[in-house]
Structure formats: C-alpha cells, structure tokens
C-alpha cells in the first residue's frame, strides 16, 4: 500500500499521476473466514478494520450486495456530534467522537473531519429548558456542550436571523464545538483501504441470500450469490436491510425501515460556518467543503425500501430552512436522494450479540448512524472478537425490548436525530 504523503504526491505528480495503485484489491471470496461482516458501509468496514488492527483477526471478509459505501454511508448529511441526553448515549457517541479525532492520521486517509461546531437552536421556552438540561447532562458525562445567548449564537453563525418578529424567534442555542462534519465517502474508502492492507477481503456485488445454521443452532456461514462462505462468526451491519438478513437466520427484530431524504443546493462560496439544527422547525443544514448547502430533516412516514422518498417531505424541509434562514430563499437545489434507515422503538441502536451463537448485529441507528461510524465499528469488532459486549455497548442489547430497559432517546430528542 502506498503511503500518502506530500512526498508521494509530489513524486506521483512527476509521472502525471498515472501510477497510483488501486486503493484496495477487488477480492474473490475464499471458502472460509474467521469472521464475516455483512455490509460494506462505514460501520462494517470500520468493524473489519478494527478486527484486524486491534483484535488480531485478519482473516475477515466484508460482503456487500452493492458497491462499497453506496448505502447510507454515501447518503447522509455527514454530521458528527455526541450531545445526547442519556449516560449510555453520551458514552456511545462520545466514544465515536474521540475516534474521529485522529482518524485521518490513523488511516493515512483524509476523512476531512472538521470540528466546525454543531449548534441546536432554541425557539421557545421548552427548547431553552430542554437544551439546558442536555448541556448539564452532557457536562456530567464529560461531553462538551455550552449555552449561547442569541447574540453569541449570531456571532458564531452570522447567517442567523435574530429578528424577534420571526415566526420561529431564536432564544438561544446549544453549541457542541467538537461536533462538525466529515467527508462521508472518505470514511468508507479510508477504512476499506486500511482494512485491505491488513488482509481483509472486500467482496462487492455479492448479496447474502441465506444464513446457514448448524444442528446446534450456531452460525456455520452465509449463502451468497457467489456460493457458500464458511465462518463461525458473522456480524451484520446492513442498516435498512437488517430485518431481511435477520429473517434468514430465523430472528424477528424490533426494526422498521424508513426512507430518510437529504438534498444539496448548487455550490456557492463559503457562506455557512457550522452545522445548525432546529428540532422545533425540524431541519438541519451545513455547507460542504465543495460549497453545497447540505440539508436534511426527518424520515418519510411509511415503511419502505425504495431508497427515495416523497417530494412533499423535501418541500417541507426546504420550507423549514427558509423560515430560519430567509437568505436562502432564492437558493436553487441541485439534487435530492433517499437512504433506508432502520429505526428502533426507542431510537437507540442495537449493537451486540443475538440469540444465535456466532451472529452479531449492529443496527437500528435510524437517522443518526454516520456520526457513530468509528465507534460502532470498534465496538462491533470488540464484541465479535471477545464474544461479549464492551461496557459501552452492553446496554444496547436486544434484550432491552423484553426487560424494558429502553434507552429512550426518542423521548429525549422529541425528534428524529
């Protein structure tokens, strides 16, 4: 693997950039692996990388039915933050934010993690009280989050409109300075390249068609479009298609798959310095390094696997953005798309073991999985390597829907997050 550096860039430039090697080889499946990951998104590739890097299991395959990073990894709005209310959530998401720091150096691949700050606007008294409660809870958990007056918010994000006669006046904001954005494709590519260099096989265009279990019920391997692949450990990180994969293993999951849409504007000069979210108006916006405004909101209303949503949902999202930022009213939108997100009843993920021996799962991230990419990968790898969950993901077990120990971020955020 060529190590990227200023020197290698210069040396390759002399050859007209014709001699760059491929980032990872297109692997063919072997007969048997020590571990198989289903789904080559950021989470799955991250898990494969950490299995090889931290836990010494290098005979690993990542199986993907489409192309690498082509699911929700390439369809999100790239926001990274960890200002969640509950202790379990703060630990989980902050584990990821800590890994985001230094990820570019670790992977030798620029994931463009930009700590530009994530600002959540308060438009009414309830928002103010709720965000201040979040801030106090976050601080107790060592997660940075601070309260800004409207003037301080305006100073941090000049496009804000402080007009007191606005339909949604700004009464203050919560700001997580460590939050920000990252280049989503780079995360998948960086993990894929680093994992492949450690011996991981990345097998694209190879859908899993069945999961084979032995007489004792334990996992024996997966049936794929390219034949049976043997493995005693299978980790499923298939986002919206998790229910379908789990049904192959005979498991019913508390998941529903919804389309989540996002859209970008035409590229413009730097105009928007941070990420701004509004739970009340329900939209979020940031500007990519390419100059596009990246806009998103909540899921569509009905269960679907169509990877596109209804246009009136987008219209509602754009209307919300125009309410908060009248300056964007004449901005032209360039394209919109949808991804399929798997939503749990309590809006917290399921990350750990399943009732089937040798089958592990990382799912249920709903509308907020991108921010957790490095953390989810690391914790899935830990759980698969040790056959027991890390203390951070132990509360995110499947049993919580039976014993009632929900981690109810749905109620805490009162909004898709």
């Amino acid at each position: 693997m060529t190590r990227f550096s200023a020197f290698s860039l210069f040396a390759k430039a002399l050859g007209g950039h014709q001699s760059w090697p491929e980032l990872w080889p297109d692997a063919q499946p072997k007969a048997e692996y020590d571990a198989i990951i289903v789904g080559a998104g950021g989470h799955g590739l991250g898990a494969a990388y950490y299995l090889a890097k931290k836990y010494g299991i290098t005979n690993v395959a990542v199986i993907e039915k489409g192309w690498l990073g082509g699911g929700n990894t390439g369809r999100n709005t790239t926001i990274v933050r960890s200002n969640y209310l509950y202790d379990e959530s703060a630990h989980l998401y902050d584990h990821a934010v800590k890994l985001w720091d230094g990820l570019s150096q670790e992977l030798n691949f620029n994931v463009m993690y930009s700590k530009r700050g994530v600002m959540m606007l308060a438009h009414n008294v309830h928002d103010v009280q709720s965000f201040q409660r979040h801030i106090h809870a976050n601080r107790l958990n060592g997660v940075d989050n601070e309260w800004l007056t409207p003037e301080e918010a305006k100073e941090y994000c000049p496009p804000l409109d402080l007009n007191p006669n606005a339909r949604y006046p700004i009464m203050g904001a919560a700001l997580q300075r460590r939050g920000g954005t990252a280049r989503h494709d780079s995360v998948a590519w960086g993990y894929a390249r680093a994992a492949a260099a450690l011996g991981v096989d990345i097998i694209q265009n190879c859908a899993v068609t069945g999961i084979r279990r032995g007489a004792d019920g334990a996992i024996e391997g997966v049936e794929t479009e390219r034949g049976f692949i043997k493995s005693k450990k299978v980790g499923v990180s298939a986002a919206g298609n998790t229910s379908v994969i789990m049904q192959m293993a005979g498991l019913e999951f508390p998941l529903e798959s919804y389309p989540l849409q996002a859209l970008v504007s035409e590229p413009v000069k730097p105009v928007f310095p941070c990420v701004v979210m509004s739970n009340t108006v329900h939209a979020y916006i940031s500007q990519s390094d390419k100059g596009e405004l990246v806009i998103g909101a909540g899921t569509d209303q009905y269960v679907s696997y169509s990877q596109r949503g209804a246009l009136h949902i987008v219209e509602h999202t754009v209307a919300a953005i125009c309410e908060i930022f009248p300056m964007f009213r004449r901005m032209r939108m360039l394209r919109n798309w949808g991804g399929i997100v798997d939503v749990t009843p309590d809006r917290s993920p399921i990350l750990g073991k399943t009732p089937v021996k040798g089958l592990y799962v990382n799912c249920g991230w709903g509308t907020g999985g991108f921010k957790a990419t490095p953390g989810a990968g690391d914790l899935l790898a830990y759980t698969m390597a040790k056959d027991e969950p890390h203390w951070i993901n132990a509360p995110y077990n499947l049993d919580r829907f039976r014993n009632g120990r929900l981690i109810d971020e749905a109620a805490a955020a009162a909004v898709a997050h």
């Binding site: 298609n241 229910s243 379908v244 019913e252 999951f253 508390p254 998941l255 529903e256 798959s257 209303q301 009905y302 269960v303 679907s304 696997y305 169509s306 209804a310 246009l311 009136h312 009843p345 829907f401 039976r402 014993n403």
Partner: protein
Amino acid sequence: MILIHCPYCDDIRPELEFAYAGEAHIARPADPSALSDAEWEKYLFIRANPRGRHNERWRHVHGCGRFFNAVRDTVTDKFELTYKAGEPRK
C-alpha cells in the same frame, strides 16, 4: 405523489390527505395481565418490516377521517389494494 384509494370514500386521493399508521393486523392482547415479557415484546416492538408485500394501516385524516388497511409493496411503494378495517388480512 402517490395516489391512494380510500375504501370508505371510494375515491382515489393524493397521499397528502392520508396518514400512515403502522403495520396492520396487530391485535391488542385480549388478556394483558396474562402476557409474558416475550409476548409483550412481540406485541409492542417486533414488526414484520418486509421487503415486499406489506399489510399496513392508513387513516384518511383530511377526508373521512377513518382508518383502513392497505397492501403496499415496500420496494416500489405501489399500492396493491386497500380494504376496510375489520376485514381479514389480504
């Protein structure tokens, strides 16, 4: 915009008039106190979430206001048929 047939109004109306109301044919337990934790889990949280044919409830909120059931393909979002609440699964 998807067009949906309301079996009560017997009219095809735009999706905006309707609200989705989750998976259909999930019966409320007849004797709640007799349910085990596993049965509660299944009733409250486990959903079919199929990739394909899905029986689901809709409500004609900006019309007659009534709940009805529908069969929709979750890959194409195409409605196969709608039927009145109380009719057997189709």
